[in-house]
């Protein structure tokens, strides 16, 4: 029976930790995207060549 338990534990643990890592990666990247997008936002509005508005 220990082989069966070991098989289930290993498979479920691998899938569980991979799922957790995916969610963690997505959150971390979403925060980074928000930071980068926010960094671009306050830059000044461009002025067209020739000084036009």
């Amino acid at each position: 029976m220990r082989y069966i338990i070991a098989g289930y534990v290993v498979v479920l643990a691998v899938l569980f930790f991979y799922a957790v890592s995916l969610v963690w990666r997505r959150r971390r990247l979403a925060r980074a995207v928000a930071r980068v997008a926010g960094a671009g936002a306050p830059l000044p509005t461009p002025v067209a060549p020739g000084g036009g508005s």
């Binding site: 479920l12 691998v14 991979y18 799922a19 995207v33 671009g40 461009p46």
Partner: protein, 309 residues
């Protein structure tokens, strides 16, 4: 050059293109140009970055429903497999490993790597070429590799008490291990720095090359005299060689693990979208910030002064 994270259509970064000649908007003006606009440096800076397409509420709801169903299905499979179903007449309790081992193999070999192969073909086909297919293939391969590892480990744990060894150079086992190595190579290749289109094209070729091994894995038990037993479900006649509660538990395991795969694929695809967006925009922003550091308070950049001189 930036590309849209979801569609592959350029560009998503809203950059003030100046001079409007098609040159990269952030690079310095050519030496012989006459940039006379007072805030020339400001004109060279990005005016704002379009964030990647947000995940819609419907998409989030779908993802959560699939995740919940996958969790419930997996728990039910474990409960039925470990406590409800009877031991097998020949294998005894070891048959309980069969409720998850073919399921993870089905996901890895046929769903994940099969999807990666189809997506790669669709990327290479000129009429359907889009970075969407490349991202989908990459997501499928990464999830497939995880399931492939689970296949090999669970099979090995089943093999020790059944065959007396953890590993045998059996045709099915060896071809499955080769498949894992091939797709690990695919993932390694994707980490080699390259333009998104170049990376997508070379990855697609590698995925198709690796996919040649999929039918070899499937038919290995028919083509060679192997230790591994023949297919229980996906045999030529598609006739179940298992019955009653054992058959239902096996099929539930297939469904539950398929749902787990779909959920992981959705999340991993989103990770790919965000990664690509960051890769294409962080450099532009860093360059723009660097450019602005060399700007005089009155707004004239060194490059513009060179141009005027």
């Amino acid at each position: 050059m930036t590309t849209d994270s979801s569609t592959g259509a350029p560009p998503t970064t809203e950059v003030t293109a100046f001079p409007p000649t098609g040159a990269h908007p952030i690079v310095e003006a050519p030496p012989n140009s006459t940039v006379t606009s007072p805030p020339a440096a400001a004109a060279l800076r990005p005016t704002g970055v379009t964030p990647p397409p947000a995940q819609s509420a419907r998409s989030r709801t779908t993802e959560r429903v699939i995740g919940a169903l996958a969790l419930v299905g997996t728990v039910a499979t474990v409960w039925l497999g470990l406590w409800v179903t009877p031991p097998d007449a020949v294998q005894g309790d070891l048959v309980r490993l069969v409720y998850i081992h073919p399921g993870v193999a089905w996901v890895a070999l046929y769903l994940a790597f099969g999807l990666a192969a189809v997506s790669s073909v669709l990327y290479l086909w000129p009429r359907t070429r889009a970075l969407f297919w490349d991202r989908l293939a990459a997501a499928a391969v990464e999830v497939g590799v995880v399931f492939n590892v689970c296949t090999l480990v669970s099979g090995s744990i089943w093999g020790k008490p059944t065959w007396g060894v953890w590993w045998a150079w059996d045709a099915r086992l060896t071809s499955t291990a080769v498949l894992l190595v091939l797709f690990l190579g695919y993932l390694a290749l994707r980490r080699v720095p390259a333009e998104p289109e170049v990376r997508a094209r070379r990855s697609a070729f590698v995925a198709l090359f690796a996919a040649i091994d999929i039918p070899i894995v499937h038919f290995s038990v028919d083509w060679w005299n192997t230790l591994h037993q023949g297919a229980t479900v996906l045999n030529p006649g598609l006739t179940l060689k298992i019955h009653g509660s054992m058959a239902w538990t096996l099929l539930l395991g297939f469904v539950a693990l398929t749902l787990v795969f779909v959920w992981m694929l959705l999340v991993r695809y989103r990770v790919g979208v965000l990664e690509d967006w960051l890769a294409s925009n962080e450099l532009d922003l860093a360059l723009a910030e660097r450019q602005s550091e060399g700007t005089d308070p009155d707004g004239a950049s060194p490059s513009s002064r060179v141009g005027v001189a």
